[in-house]
């Protein structure tokens, strides 16, 4: 039998190799207590300057995940914004997506979905960069505080994935974000309060009307008593036309929630609406 197929390749080296591997492991264990670990920026992959304490102490700090330059290059939303959904909108008043709707849903997002923010969402969504969830959730939480000063949610609900999609990906990026939001706002997080019961296509490939049809009645509240008579905050990663959050919110309204608002990490906007800066 060859070396490669034995159970553990590190067991099958020479005695000296095994001993040095063991000593190295021991030193690593000791070193982790004393020396700070090195970390690289998640976007540009350059090493980050070492903070005074080990990186593990900064779970809520975006500066422990990204470098100064990449944080500078994120596009933050700036007024004029749509008063309902918080999208950059240069004409004032409601944006074209909110004008079309019968029920408007109020919400906010700290970032514009371009450039570095797009890359950041991609990291969170497809590359299992779980450690970004907490700091970005903090940013969303801070945005909720400042954009809706007179409203406080009673619980945080992440926009769910379908069970099959969840099993394929292994995690729900909206849930990672909402962990940070609930930690920042000190409100409980309701994991299983909202479920996605229907398989939906990815929204990104569809037109505006198709998106609405795609997610219509895709959400279900298994125990209405949990959400009834509550102020709820929906958390998602990207807000494009708002079809997904609207479908999720209507399921919660039907279950008896008093108010539902949403917060997302990034919002899609026309470049014309951004160019005034």
């Amino acid at each position: 039998m060859s070396k490669r197929s034995s159970v553990d390749p590190s067991m099958s080296g020479s005695r000296w190799q095994r001993l040095s591997g063991w000593v190295w492991g021991l030193l690593r264990d000791a070193g982790e207590l004393v020396l700070p670990q090195t970390c690289v920026c998640r976007l540009c992959r350059r090493p980050l300057p070492a903070p005074p304490l080990p990186f593990a102490c900064y779970v809520n700090d975006l500066y422990a995940c990204l470098c100064r330059e990449c944080i500078h290059s994120l596009a933050w939303v700036q007024p004029p914004l749509c008063p309902q959904c918080g999208r950059p909108w240069r004409h004032g008043g409601l944006c074209r997506f909110c004008l079309r709707r019968r029920h408007v849903l109020q919400g906010c997002s700290p970032l514009v979905y371009t450039g570095a923010a797009q890359e950041l969402v991609r990291e969170l969504k497809f590359r299992a960069v779980c450690e970004l969830g907490r700091p970005l959730g903090y940013i969303i939480g801070a945005m909720v505080r400042s954009a809706m000063p007179d409203w406080e949610p009673q619980a945080i609900i992440p926009v769910p994935l379908h069970a099959d999609r969840l099993a394929a990906r292994g995690y729900n990026q909206a849930e990672l974000l909402s962990q940070g939001v609930s930690h920042f706002l000190k409100k409980p997080l309701l994991h299983q309060a909202l479920l996605r019961t229907r398989h939906t296509q990815p929204q990104s490939a569809l037109s505006v009307t198709e998106r609405v049809k795609n997610v219509h009645a895709a959400f279900h509240v298994p125990h209405p008593a949990v959400v009834a008579n509550k102020r709820l905050l929906l958390v998602d990663d990207v807000h494009t036309t708002g079809a997904t959050v609207h479908a999720a919110a209507s399921a919660l309204w039907h279950a008896g929630a008093t108010t539902v608002r949403f917060a997302t990490l990034a919002v899609a906007a026309n470049t014309a609406d951004l160019s005034e800066r």
């Binding site: 039998m1 060859s2 490669r4 197929s5 034995s6 159970v7 553990d8 590190s10 067991m11 095994r18 001993l19 591997g21 063991w22 492991g25 021991l26 690593r28 690289v40 540009c44 992959r45 350059r46 090493p47 330059e69 500078h72 290059s73 450039g115 570095a116 590359r127 299992a128 960069v129 779980c130 450690e131 969840l166 099993a167 394929a168 990906r169 292994g170 995690y171 729900n172």
Partner: protein, 639 residues
């Protein structure tokens, strides 16, 4: 729990109902005769395979990484002499720490408590809950799996997409079908995350031990995953890595009928020809590791063509790796021209989707973690380039391929001190093909650059640095364009603005985020721009015919190291139309890296002069006077 498994080991039956059979343990070493040993995801398939012998089901399903842990705990019983006493103590401490950690995170720990051993017999196969074993892999699926895994090692999810692209159809669970192939010794499977002998979880795919823990919806528990290779698909504790067994791998590698023809677009220069000869003879003598130290623009890729041809002629595969995607694309096109499109396949970005195990494979270093199987020759171009230089994961992956047998050639313009000291063979290509020496950088000290260290902190735009203006004036006099490198992306826009203020109109800035990167590059190449301000993205692989280079704040650490500085200086004088030019390093205080870079360039120039490789006007050093340390160079080949 461990007592329970040790009991099982003594009985000679570890088995089953768990999710993983890593590989069969070494039968000869086991003192007792087992029926089956290991852990399996598919008891029914095992049972059918065991030809009617009963199978002992000992536990409920556990995650893959834990199954491997359990197995490694039972393993000392099989291999008594495997670890020493102290190591075993440390191992046990690590395992108990991991177990405590699991316990705090995992609510339903009880499923690892031993249930009563169950015996599974062939009669049970018709009980109804073993339907899955009805599905057998079809010959089409088997050949598709063979095709997809040729020279590769893939995660289950990656294998699934590869099979979908090959158009393989299968009914039933893929995992069950693959398990059949594992039992037939066609595939081998290992847990992507496993415990090594000193009790540390590590990633089998990239070798990193930076393991994160998170709740995983795949297996429904807290599950370790690798933090380093997740850009290439997430390697989890519950996912398996599939590859062909060494025998099958060797079987599929026998492919080449004829030695490929080589048609070079131009003849090799004398320096290249000498180096090429040296490499081929070293390989014939069985050298395992060769380092090529070439001047920037000397054409190091052409030097390995002869070696590649020889290895392909022997019926083995050749792998050519570079850290940068655009360089890979360019190399792929070039090799296709030389060896013909049938022999070469390129694995990078979008082109990765049409995978095909050709004799010559050109790939980015990121792809190396998906590749496997003995390559006869692994060539690593630009081994000092970012991100390979900084990322341990890529070094691990390339190192694994290099160690699997065959020869490993590293090519660089700036070998690291470690490489210089430890490489058993160092081959030099000191001169460019036009025979002019490399331009030696001038150092311009300028205290005004202090303001440019953090321009975003100052209120107003700092004035354009004197040293840059001087470089501009001299370039204008030489009728050359100026390429200005800046250490950080945030400096690009302010410097372009400052240059406009001093009256340079045709100027543009470019960094990794700019969208018109390609347009600026072509405009600069055609001479429409007088100056371009760039970050290190323009450092490698580009040729501008009429260019001088200035490096702003060349002493910046971590970004402008020795390798980067030599590369940036190497942009100048690459073409026959303008074989000379000027390079300026502007700084507040010269750094060690700058001195080292200048020293390296001068060393190569001297070596070229001594070997008589420079054009007639430059031969001013008497040949034949070699220092003891340099005797392996071109010099003694020619002597």
């Amino acid at each position: 729990m461990s007592r329970y498994f040790l009991w099982a080991a003594q009985q000679g039956i570890i088995l089953s109902g768990c999710s993983y059979l890593p590989a069969k343990l070494d039968v000869e070493r086991v003192p007792i005769k087992p029926i089956f040993y290991g852990i399996t995801p598919e008891p029914a398939v095992e049972l059918r395979f065991s030809a009617g012998k009963p199978l002992y089901l000992l536990s409920a399903e556990v995650p893959l990484w834990l199954a491997q842990l359990l197995l490694s705990m039972a393993k000392p019983r099989f291999q008594q002499a495997a670890v020493g006493c102290w190591q075993r103590l440390y191992f046990q401490a690590r395992v108990s720490y991991l177990r405590r950690r699991m316990q705090s995170q995992l609510l339903n720990w009880e499923y690892i408590r031993p249930p009563a051993p169950r015996v599974l017999r062939s009669a049970d196969m018709h009980a109804g809950d073993w339907e899955c074993c009805a599905a057998m892999p079809t010959p089409e699926l088997t050949s598709a799996v063979l095709e997809a895994l040729k020279a590769r090692r893939l995660l289950e999810s990656e294998l699934e997409t590869a099979l979908a692209r090959l158009g393989a159809v299968y009914d039933g669970q893929l995992r069950v079908l693959l398990h059949h192939l594992v039992l037939h010794h066609i595939l081998q499977r290992e847990s992507a995350i496993a415990l090594n002998s000193y009790g540390r979880l590590h990633c089998r795919r990239c070798g990193s031990d930076r393991i994160h823990w998170a709740w995983c919806a795949k297996c429904g528990s807290h599950c370790p995953f690798c933090g380093d290779c997740r850009n290439m698909g997430v390697a989890r504790g519950c996912s398996a890595l599939y590859s062909l067994t060494p025998q099958m791998q060797a079987h599929t590698a026998r492919h080449v009928q004829a030695v490929p023809k080589m048609n070079l677009p131009f003849a090799l220069s004398s320096a290249q020809a000498a180096a090429s000869e040296q490499i081929v003879s070293a390989m014939r003598q069985g050298a395992k590791e060769i380092t090529i130290w070439a001047a920037c623009g000397a054409g190091k890729t052409e030097v390995v063509y002869a070696a590649m041809r020889e290895v392909v002629g022997r019926g083995k595969r050749v792998l050519l790796l570079t850290p940068r995607r655009d360089v890979t694309a360019e190399l792929y096109a070039r090799l296709q021209g030389v060896f013909g499109a049938d022999y070469v396949v390129g694995l990078y970005g979008a082109a990765e989707s049409n995978y095909q195990a050709s004799p010559i494979m050109v790939a980015t270093t990121h792809q190396a973690i998906r590749l496997d199987g003995a390559f006869g020759l692994v060539v690593l171009d630009e081994c000092d380039a970012y991100p390979y230089r900084t990322e341990k994961m890529l070094q691990n992956a390339v190192g694994r391929l290099a160690r699997q047998g065959g020869c490993f050639i590293q090519m660089t313009a700036t070998p690291s001190p470690l490489l210089r000291r430890h490489s058993s063979r160092l081959v030099y290509i000191p001169a460019r093909h036009h025979g002019h020496p490399l331009p030696v950088p001038n150092v311009l000290q300028d205290t005004g650059l202090r303001l440019w260290r953090t321009p975003e902190m100052t209120q107003s735009l700092p004035p354009c640095p004197e040293s840059v203006i001087e470089a501009l004036i001299r370039s204008r006099r030489e009728k050359a364009q100026l390429l200005i490198f800046v250490p950080r992306r945030l400096l690009v826009a302010p410097l372009v603005e400052a240059l406009r203020q001093v009256g340079v109109e045709r100027v543009a800035g470019v960094h990794s985020g700019s969208e018109n990167r390609d347009e600026i590059r072509t405009a600069f190449k055609e001479g429409q721009l007088e100056a371009v301000v760039a970050t290190t993205i323009f450092e490698r692989g580009l040729t501008f015919p009429q260019v001088n280079v200035a490096v702003l704040l060349a002493e910046t650490r971590q970004i402008f190291d020795n390798a980067a500085l030599v590369q940036m200086a190497g942009r100048v004088g690459r073409t026959t139309t303008r074989p000379q030019g000027s390079v300026w390093f502007t700084c507040v205080q010269p750094s060690q890296a700058m001195r080292q870079a200048i020293e390296d360039i001068v060393t190569l120039n001297e070596m070229a002069a001594r070997a008589g490789l420079l054009a007639s006007g430059y031969v001013d050093v008497a040949p034949g006077k070699l220092k003891p340390g340099e005797q392996r160079g071109i010099g003694d080949v020619q002597a």
